[in-house]
């Protein structure tokens, strides 16, 4: 999509795929020997879900060391677990969104997305009012002097955090899964970059790192989560995590905080007193591509 395809330079941080190639040849073993010890640890790291608490600590410490070296500042890699009795849900007011894209850039900043090549987890579609929600009439590249434009409405699309996520089903290695609080996450250290999940997602919500993250050190958000916004590497897939590093601490996601129209609502679907439950019970709610039976936990509604 908006990613750039540029051949990589050979480097010491070898991917899992390269590692396997390397291991299958005798010459490769010598190549591996030339690499840093940290990389060897990385090769042998298990899937995040199979790590013992002690191993998680070691992995986090290693990552924090690597990030500190790369970005010349202290980056915290959090491992906050899901809260009990919480299932996250999101609602977006289609009658209020004006398409200003503040959410897109707040998300990029909060979640350490690559600036160049450009990776954006939120895509705002400009729709024709006469057509309604019709993807054939959607324009993500609108750029007038002012929004909203007459005759249009705006529909931001990001990960819908499906209850029945096709992306998780197709992953051949189990590098992506749904957490108990409903957030679909990726273990960037386990992802092999096959991009099946991107093909399976009907919402275009997953993005590939064609290059290492083009992330200026001064812009790195140092408050990260292992399953969320920690800087990704080349060759892995990433996606919206409802700002797992914020929401598991009780904060609103960055897109909700920044929205100037208050169109974005977030909360616990299991709490009958939450804003999100009020919306589902009192407002007209629209589910994007409902016919695919993906069961999104991201809802669109009409607040008027």
């Amino acid at each position: 999509m908006s990613d750039e395809i540029i051949p990589s330079e050979p480097s010491c941080s070898v991917s899992r795929r390269q590692f396997l190639e390397v291991f299958s040849s005798a010459v490769g073993v010598a190549t591996l020997g030339g690499c840093k010890r940290a990389s060897a640890e990385e090769f042998l790291q298990k899937n995040y879900r199979e790590l013992s608490p002690k191993e998680v600590k070691q992995v986090v410490a290693r990552l924090e060391r690597e990030y500190a070296r790369e970005y010349k500042k202290s980056v915290k890699v959090g491992i906050e677990p899901p809260m009990k009795g919480v299932l996250f849900g999101y609602a977006l007011d289609l009658s209020r969104c004006i398409g200003c894209r503040r959410c897109v850039y707040a998300c990029v900043k909060e979640n350490n997305q690559s600036r160049d090549p450009q990776v954006q987890w939120i895509r705002v579609l400009q729709m024709d009012k006469e057509e309604g929600v019709n993807i054939l009439h959607a324009d993500p590249y609108y750029s007038p002097a002012e929004v909203p434009q007459e005759g249009h409405f705006y529909m931001p699309v990001q990960c819908q955090q499906c209850k029945n996520p096709p992306c998780v089903k197709v992953c051949p290695v189990g590098a992506t899964w749904q957490e108990p609080d409903g957030i679909t996450v990726v273990d960037y250290n386990w992802c092999i970059g096959c991009r099946y999940c991107m093909a399976a997602c009907p919402y275009g919500a997953r993005h590939f790192n064609w290059k290492g993250p083009g992330l200026p050190p001064e812009e790195v958000n140092p408050e990260t989560h292992y399953l969320g916004n920690r800087p990704r590497k080349q060759g892995v897939v990433e996606k919206c995590t409802f700002c797992i590093q914020r929401t598991r601490k009780g904060l609103y996601p960055a897109c909700t905080e920044v929205c100037p129209t208050g169109s974005r609502k977030f909360g616990n679907l299991l709490d009958p007193a939450s804003e999100i439950r009020y919306i589902l019970e009192h407002k007209r709610v629209f589910i994007f591509k409902e016919d695919l039976n993906t069961r999104p936990k991201f809802f669109y509604f009409y607040g008027v």
Binding site: I6, C100, Q118, P140, Y252, P260, G267, E275, G303
Partner: protein
């Protein structure tokens, strides 16, 4: 017939009781009472308190509907019927306060009560955090905005904004094949 009149009498008493109750419930369930923080109303710099000028001496009270020329000429009223004017909402006697249709005076930081008189549906949604913006913690302390933080009460339509740049179009991407050309 008798039971019908009885019923209407009971209903009448109930309605009166309700009206009285509403009038007397002065400190209503305000956001502050719910543990929510509200930023102060967005006054123009130096304009508040109004009694700086409207003290009854410097500026004498004039309750005649008119177009303002000496002061506040920058305010263009685009809110509801033509006949609306300043003292429909601003209190003529206590200038640092507003008043409701009932005559009850309220502070500027309770202006949502005034807005809610006409915009009942929005008021209802705002109180539960569905209309308007909330920030802070989804499961704890939140910050509310007042109606007037987003809607200028004199001209309430939400102002248009300049959108941030669009995503890069695939045609404009640098690719390996393009670079080698």
């Amino acid at each position: 017939m008798r039971s019908a009149s009885k019923l209407s009498l009971i209903l009448g008493i109930l309605a009166m009781g309700l009206a009285l109750g509403l009038l007397q419930a002065a400190p209503r369930d305000s956001p502050a009472d719910q543990g929510l923080q509200v930023p102060p109303p967005p006054f123009t710099d130096g304009i508040f308190p109004c009694t700086q000028c409207h003290d009854g001496k410097v500026v004498k009270l004039n309750t005649t509907r008119r177009e303002l020329v000496d002061m506040h000429g920058d305010i263009e009223l685009h809110h509801g019927p033509e006949s609306r004017w300043c003292l429909d909402c601003h209190d003529p006697l206590q200038r640092d306060r507003l008043h409701l249709v009932s005559g009850e005076r309220i502070e500027f930081d309770h202006s949502y009560l005034l807005c809610g008189q006409c915009h009942g549906d929005k008021f209802r949604d705002w109180k539960v955090g569905v209309h308007g913006k909330r920030t802070g913690a989804w499961n704890g302390q939140k910050q509310y905005l007042l109606c007037v933080h987003c809607h200028n009460p004199h001209s309430p339509r939400f102002k248009a904004l300049q959108p941030l740049p669009p995503p890069r179009h695939p045609e404009d991407l640098k690719t390996a094949s393009k670079e080698s050309r």
